[in-house]
Symmetry: C2
Subunit: 228 residues, 2 copies
């Protein structure tokens, strides 16, 4: 049976989720045998997953030393941020298609979940949902290719934020998402694009590339519960 690729996707998704939720700190060692036990898999599959993740710049493979959660350099961080800004801002300014009623509904549903997470002070859920909002927006106004590209950039941004975030900052303003949707429904794409630019710049302004980030290497034991 061809469940092999499925299982590897499951493992990769779990690792990506852990990165998104800031549970896996950049620099963390990812030992093959330990991962195989956690996910009740074997080294061969883990190895393939790590190889794939390395191509997404989520994991860095050091020959002979093993796999580590990537530590994007300040330059790489700036490039990732700028690239994401280019894609999202430009797409809003010149969307491939209008926002459909169905698309608006999808966005509204995510926003309601965001509100719930906000009320519950669930920071992890808010991070995840914010990403989902952006990805859904891109899929609705653009296409799946742009969505997949941006999905990778968002993943890398998660590492970047973990490494370079200033203390005491609340990064993602979910209120922006609400305003964004209003502007799109009013077909004011120019203003929506400008808001998106400010939105992303707001995130970037919370970063400080000066201080070399701490080498917080979280024990892989932390990600024990995500084996489902």
């Amino acid at each position: 049976m061809g469940s092999s690729a499925k299982e590897e996707a499951r493992i990769a998704d779990a690792l990506c989720k852990a990165v998104l939720e800031r549970k896996l700190a950049p620099g963390s060692k990812l030992p093959e045998e330990e991962l195989a036990q956690i996910f009740r898999s074997n080294r061969a599959k883990i190895r393939r997953v790590l190889l794939l993740l390395s191509r997404s710049h989520i994991v860095t493979l050091e020959p002979g030393r093993g796999a580590f959660v990537s530590r994007p350099s300040p330059q790489e961080a700036r490039d990732v941020l700028a690239s994401r800004r280019l894609i999202e801002v430009s797409l809003l300014a010149h969307p491939y298609r209008k926002l459909s009623a169905q698309g608006a509904a999808r966005l509204r549903q995510i926003m309601s979940h965001e509100a719930q997470a906000h009320a519950a002070h669930d920071a992890i859920a808010m991070i995840y949902l914010s990403g989902q909002f952006h990805l859904t927006l891109i899929e609705e106004l653009g296409n799946k290719v742009l969505k997949s590209i941006t999905g990778e950039l968002i993943l890398r941004m998660s590492l970047i934020i973990t490494m370079y975030e200033r203390q005491n900052t609340t990064c993602c303003l979910s209120s922006d998402h609400h305003d964004l949707l209003e502007l799109l429904l009013a077909h004011d794409y120019a203003e929506a694009s400008a808001l998106m630019a400010r939105h992303l710049e707001g995130i970037e302004s919370c970063l400080d590339f000066q201080r070399e980030p701490a080498t917080t290497t979280i024990l892989s034991q932390i990600l024990q519960p995500l084996k489902d």
Copy 2:
């Protein structure tokens, strides 16, 4: 010695080059053992390369059946084209930095090679150099992340063109590249962006998504000489 990753990169590059040069037709079977012999490698390495290429959408892995050169659907083709257009057109309109003298020199060198290839009627070299021109432009005005993203899109476009190109069309107008550089040197980014849009639309207008493309499965023997 850590030459393993190097060797795999060499094999992957060779395959990508074959795709760029339209030597490997979409749909071609890529048998592991045969590739291992061609590149004087072993199945394990070939397997890793194919896995990686599958992530770049260059190769499609069918469980139990093996690896094939991808055959992008019309929808995927449209999405890839639109994504590339978004990135390149937007970047020219709002470049991250001005074109440096060094950057202009790099572009001019590529253009001179293009002229040589044109004079020699070397269609393959022209395709490759056209891609290099675009990638260099993106690196000079943008950054390496955008360059790598666009590099993958260009690779996919190569498959798309092979599949859907109309008869009797000369796709890439190298004269556009010359005009583009002139506009950039004159700091007329708005016009440069518009020209880029027309340039890419010109390529797209040579495509016909109606006719189902032939299943031209070239023998892997064809790529024998690229084992260096």
